[in-house]
């Protein structure tokens, strides 16, 4: 198991290097210009000077090499400096955003809390709602509860957040006036009052996102439970005289969780990608909003870095999912 994990981790290095090259070349080949958002009143010669100041005059391979060095050498040194108070990266050029003219990593770290609060919370809430629904729907297949659950999950699947988000804002912010429609990212939770505010502003984005997670995971849970409920070992367990609770919640659930855990693990990287649309609607301004505004502004260093970090997480959680598979199911051991 350990050798397998190590082998996978080592193999992921060339994969990631290849991914970073592909991202860079795709961005390079894509049409667009970081000066496109500058008003037309700024003359072309001035724009040309601005492009040069951004380092756009250099050839592609040099810029890629620079980015690699900055991302893999300078940024980790910065992190070490930050933790141990050393000065390894002093005077070194960091990955700079073209929009902000400031280090990309600083902005990403600044955006992390919002995204974790809202998107990660919605993932947890979504899973907590989805699992019981999936289990009970399968146990009482075709019952009223199952039909209702199917209906709700279908709605969750098919209603996009740009509709459901605006709908809840119109109901709860405009009509009822209970919840704020704009997320305050500067709010710091220090006492009960601010905690309450934080909860209030999180309710809508979290629920809108959780609806989608719930829909997806409860369908998986239900299907997986149904596969197992008709197996011979379930009949054996019942014949032994085990209680229904023990049969369903211990025997069936554990076996059914195997594919569901994989799905949950594979979904984790997307938390860090943020929720582009939902973040825009509620002005959460997390990583998703950061990525989309960087794309719109053709801020290539920012897009490159954020996309690559998501790629790293996807590769990593793929490995995690594979390893978890082995842990949960003794039949699958990779050695």
């Amino acid at each position: 198991m350990l050798t397998y994990t190590i082998r996978r981790l080592v193999l992921s290095v060339p994969t990631l290097l290849f991914i970073s090259l592909v991202i860079f070349l795709l961005l390079e080949l894509a049409p667009g210009d970081p000066m496109a958002q500058v008003p037309l009143t700024v003359p072309p010669e001035v724009k040309e000077r601005m492009r040069e100041a951004l380092g756009l005059g250099e050839p592609t391979h040099i810029r890629f090499g620079k980015w690699m060095y900055q991302f893999f050498v300078v940024e980790p040194m910065m992190l070490i400096d930050h933790i141990f108070g050393t000065a390894l990266a002093e005077g070194q050029q960091r990955v700079l955003s073209w929009q902000f003219r400031s280090p990309v990593m600083d902005v990403i770290i600044q955006r992390m809390p919002q995204t974790l609060w809202v998107v990660a919370m919605s993932y947890v809430v979504g899973i907590l709602i989805a699992l019981p629904i999936g289990i009970y729907s399968a146990y009482r297949q075709y019952s009223l509860f199952d039909q209702a659950g199917t209906f709700i999950t279908m709605v969750g699947y098919s209603v996009p957040p740009f509709f459901s988000g605006v709908l809840v804002i119109v109901i709860f912010s405009v009509q009822l006036g209970w919840l704020p429609s704009i997320y305050d990212t500067t709010l710091e939770v220090v006492d009960w009052e601010t905690f309450k505010k934080q909860i209030l502003q999180m309710v809508m984005p979290v629920m809108v996102l959780a609806l989608q997670t719930t829909a997806q995971i409860s369908r998986f849970m239900r299907a997986s439970m149904l596969d197992n409920l008709n197996q011979d070992y379930v009949r054996t367990a019942r014949a032994k005289g085990l209680s229904e609770w023990a049969v369903v919640m211990v025997h069936v659930l554990r076996n059914s969780m195997i594919p569901v855990v994989t799905v949950i693990a594979l979904g984790v990287p997307y938390i860090f990608g943020g929720a582009i649309i939902t973040e825009q609607i509620f002005k959460v301004n997390g990583l998703g909003q950061l990525l989309i505004t960087a794309i719109q502004a053709n801020d290539l260093p920012m897009v490159q870095t954020v996309t690559f970090m998501i790629a790293v997480l996807i590769v990593f959680f793929n490995i995690v999912a594979d390893v978890l598979y082995g842990v949960l199911d003794p039949r699958i051991r990779y050695d």
Partner: protein
């Protein structure tokens, strides 16, 4: 709702308020939302409107334009003119006197050295300054004494108000930016996020593309202002959400530039939390006519250049007919509502320079048909499209991707089909269309189409450079890397001559006369630019926010120092 009563009301209230509560920070907190989030607080490194507006709360120029487009002194004692001796008789220099006793928000004195430093900072060739055009023609900036600074121009400048005037060229602190000049300009993240300024507010925290927390500047020159102790400047989202936050839920006090359908704004206003304000600058949505042949059969490098005149758009009657067939009133109603008005002018304002033509406001399909018949363009082969000498009136019409523009394209295509002109429509992503990449065939400068639609405007209140953009030498062509502002490749020696005359004239009424003549040559007489809609700015404020005067000639936050809370 018109602008006038609001302005009158606001002025009256402002007078009343300054008497009632003359204490800095007495009105607590104000919330402003910009649906495009500012990414930096240094307008010299961005050039984007959102950055210029946000920065204007903190750093100020020597003078600003007010809501009527007139110059008002800010950090200067008065606006220098030839009459008061501030501008030299030969128009080659301008001398600014700074108000005595000004302080930066860190408590140090504001001096002429800071002004000179700002000019040097922007004119540094390695800095990539976005506002370099403001300093065009500047030879040197001299410090005469602590409170006097003189700008020397290489040639006579009839409009010497480029540097240090308006939101685009505010003064930055020399002490703070000393280490940030030239190539190091972009490394000063901390300085660029929190510049030290003289404005009513100072930055407490700047989160790029998200939110700015500001508080009242303790050293602001008027001890009674600003009325607000703190400000939250939130960015991001979309125009609808920003409008909703002010007009419907009342969470925010001010929302910038609501580019929304007219009925959407009207619906939001019904909630009664606030009102929409509109004002008009110089932004004109227009159709540009290509006078060169964009045919793909021509070799690259000659295509769409002066070497090959356009087969039929060089005929002034065809251009005139295209203009006559358009119903500008309907376009305005559909696309912009109260934020637009139909126009026949390329320079629609300020009032002194506006030609106020009305000849095109009424659609005249019959007249256009008669004109084309008379010019010999008839449908000889019976395919519904007019032709002459084997040339068919068939157009490629391109614009950027944008819902309103695509509606306009569809309507105009229909009207042109009624006068026997066939139109093929094309839309291109804005980042490519306006991107200016000389390698791309799809930029608006390269103009590989017969006609194209976009909007443009000029900064400040003087149209000289804008009018000069249609001289022969400004045509985009391979030799200029396809850069240049003369999109039509219009070339008329009489026009060039008149532009030169404008550059030599300083007297305002004479300048206006020439400007109107130039405007008419391009629009009314030659129809190389077909103006459609004079687009305004719509912003929203809550009912409890007072002192707001919407200004399109400078930044919208130009008078944020005068804002206050209206008490019930």
């Amino acid at each position: 709702m018109t602008l006038k009563p609001i302005l009158l009301g606001a002025t009256a209230l402002a007078g009343f308020a300054s008497m009632a509560m003359a204490e800095r920070g007495a009105d607590g907190h104000v919330n402003v939302i910009y649906w495009q989030a500012p990414s930096i607080m240094n307008p010299y490194l961005s050039g984007g409107t959102k950055e210029i507006e946000a920065a204007s709360l903190v750093i100020e120029p020597l003078g600003r334009y007010n809501e009527k487009g007139e110059m008002v002194p800010y950090l200067a004692e008065e606006i220098p003119t030839v009459e008061n001796g501030g501008v030299a008789e030969d128009l080659k220099s301008i001398t600014w006197k700074i108000k005595p006793g000004l302080k930066w928000s860190d408590g140090t004195a504001f001096t002429a050295t800071d002004v000179k430093f700002t000019a040097d900072y922007c004119m540094n060739p390695e800095g990539g300054c976005a506002q370099l055009a403001k300093f065009e023609g500047v030879e040197s900036v001299e410090v005469i004494d602590d409170l006097t600074v003189k700008v020397n121009f290489a040639d006579a400048q009839p409009n010497p108000y480029g540097p240090f005037m308006g939101g685009q060229s505010p003064i930055i602190q020399a002490a703070q930016y000393a280490e940030c000049t030239g190539a190091r300009a972009s490394e000063c993240a901390e300085e660029n996020f929190a510049p030290i300024g003289t404005g009513p507010f100072k930055v407490d925290e700047f989160r790029p593309n998200d939110v700015i927390s500001l508080s009242a500047n303790p050293e602001y020159r008027d001890p009674a202002k600003p009325a607000f102790a703190t400000m939250t400047f939130k960015g991001g989202g979309d125009a609808t959400a920003a409008g909703r936050a002010v007009l419907e839920t009342g969470e925010f006090d001010y929302a910038w530039n609501l580019q929304l359908a007219p009925d959407v704004i009207a619906n939001m206003e019904e909630a009664g939390q606030g009102e929409a304000l509109a004002a008009f600058g110089t932004l004109v949505e227009r159709i540009e006519v290509n006078l060169t042949n964009p045919s793909p059969d021509l070799p690259e490098g000659e295509r769409a250049t002066a070497a090959h005149p356009h087969p039929f758009l060089t005929d002034p009657d065809v251009r005139k007919a295209l203009s006559m067939a358009i119903d500008r009133v309907l376009l305005t109603e559909i696309g912009y509502g109260q934020a637009g008005r139909p126009t026949c002018d390329w320079v629609p304002g300020p009032d002194a320079y506006a030609a106020n033509n009305t000849h095109c406001l009424e659609q005249d399909i019959a007249g256009a048909n008669a004109l084309l018949d008379g010019a010999g363009w008839i449908d000889s082969d019976g395919d519904g499209i007019r032709d002459k000498d084997g040339v068919e009136l068939s157009l490629l019409f391109q614009t950027s991707t944008n819902a309103v523009r695509q509606d306009f394209q569809a309507l105009i295509k229909q009207w042109w089909s009624e006068i026997g002109v066939e139109t093929e429509l094309r839309n291109i992503s804005a980042s490519v269309f306006f991107g200016g990449d000389p390698g791309s065939p799809d930029t608006f400068q390269k103009f590989y189409a017969d006609v194209e639609m976009y909007a443009n405007l000029f900064d400040g209140t003087d149209p000289q450079n804008y009018l000069a953009s249609r001289t022969c030498d400004k045509a985009p062509r391979p030799a200029t890397q396809w850069q240049g502002e003369n999109i039509n490749r219009f070339c008329d020696p009489a026009y060039d001559e008149l532009v030169k005359e404008l550059g030599r004239t300083a007297e305002l009424s004479k300048r206006a006369e020439i400007a109107i003549k130039l405007n008419n040559m391009i629009t009314k007489e030659q129809n190389v630019i077909i103006p459609l809609v004079h687009r305004g700015r719509v912003s929203a404020k809550s009912n409890t926010l007072g002192g707001v005067i919407l200004n399109v000639w400078d930044t919208e936050l130009w008078n944020a120092a005068d804002w206050y809370r209206i008490k019930e």
